[in-house]
Symmetry: C2
Subunit: 229 residues, 2 copies
């Protein structure tokens, strides 16, 4: 592993408070690996070998049942995934694949559990991360059960606009089909919903979305801090 990567990882919330010795133990056992886009990293139902951390690129968590597939979440740097499965040493509930070229840090599950046991700062970070992930899923579930697909899209636009610096312009980072899956709708529906939002001042072309009247959009979206975060 390169010096720069080492520093980057050491600075992550998950590792920044722990002792140097334990950090070395974790990272000494780990692999930092690059993957091409659309590579499956893990399969739901398998037992966890490694804790994965997205260092660069983006990874889609998804799940399939009875011929259908749905995106659960999209992970960007620098978050862990399948932490809960590693902690409990139980099968993955989700599969993961890269959306873009990605760099993933893989720490053996056994090592994570060991270090957890005797580094209180690391334990605290793990709990914080896990609690954070928990809250993200709860928000998704609420969004799914309490909103229509058009409202989910409207709120996604508002939130992403904010994350990208409030320029009233949003740039998609991935396919519309992926966005559709992430928002829990079909690509056809995303198309129609985007067309619908034109009534509230949302104009889209290609991968650019322009917000012409953010107060109209907000009236439609009804954003809620307890869902959107």
């Amino acid at each position: 592993m390169r010096q720069s990567d080492w520093k980057l990882i050491r600075a992550l919330p998950l590792f920044c408070d722990m002792s140097e010795a334990n950090f070395e133990k974790l990272v000494g056992a780990a692999f930092l690996q690059r993957f091409p886009p659309h590579t499956t990293l893990i399969n739901e139902g398998d037992l966890p070998d490694f804790l994965h951390i997205v260092v660069d690129g983006s990874v889609e968590m998804f799940s399939a049942h009875n011929g259908h597939e749905t995106t659960i979440d999209i992970m960007r740097p620098e978050t862990t995934f399948i932490l809960a499965a590693v902690i409990r040493d139980e099968v993955y509930l989700k599969s993961a694949r890269t959306l873009s070229p990605a760099q993933i840090l893989m720490i053996p599950a056994q090592t994570v559990r060991e270090v957890f046991g005797h580094d209180a700062a690391f334990a605290r970070s793990i709990v914080n991360e896990l609690a954070d992930r928990y809250r993200v899923v709860v928000r998704s579930l609420k969004s799914e059960k309490l909103r229509t697909s058009a409202e989910r899209l409207a709120n996604w636009i508002l939130k992403t606009n904010h994350q990208q610096g409030d320029h009233q312009r949003v740039e998609l980072m991935f396919d519309k089909r992926t966005l559709a899956s992430r928002l829990g709708m079909t690509p056809e529906n995303l198309s129609r919903n985007l067309a619908l939002l034109a009534k509230f001042g949302v104009k889209s072309s290609g991968r650019d979305i322009v917000i012409e009247d953010s107060s109209a959009l907000e009236r439609f979206a009804k954003p809620n801090a307890l869902i959107d975060g």
Copy 2:
């Protein structure tokens, strides 16, 4: 607190591994309280004062938005709720109310965070519990996104039948309207879905459901270990 309650709580997975001194610190600061049915215990948006543990009875976690309400989960003994909010000291994402008369152990949030910091066994239990809660929500999200409401009902019947001892007879513990909300459908829809399942050997009257042909029901339900657990 009575001796018998003390022992019961000491034996819970969350507390059974920790030191006696730290357990006393936690429980010394706690309240064990009884509540009548349909009492609101916490409101989404508030900051956590206490970690709650259901000792007896059942508690519904729910959430409201834009004039609609949805059940997120129903907690029975002996699980914690709002653990993630307590850990992160962030607002509740869900409200909670009793469904039946209930007995709740309330431990001050500050005390939980303190003891967590210097009792590794307790920290490990907290992480385990949190990871477990996380996986429950992921399963719910998958069920919501990948199944129809009739399939959710069919799987709920199979699972509950198993929990109640595989007698091919399920007894509802709460209103059908509550079950409907928990399964993400309206009461009207639950009625129709129960009528539909008659085709697969499910007969219901009042609070009793009889499974006459469990293999037919399973063919319809398509149970999946990665959703139903």
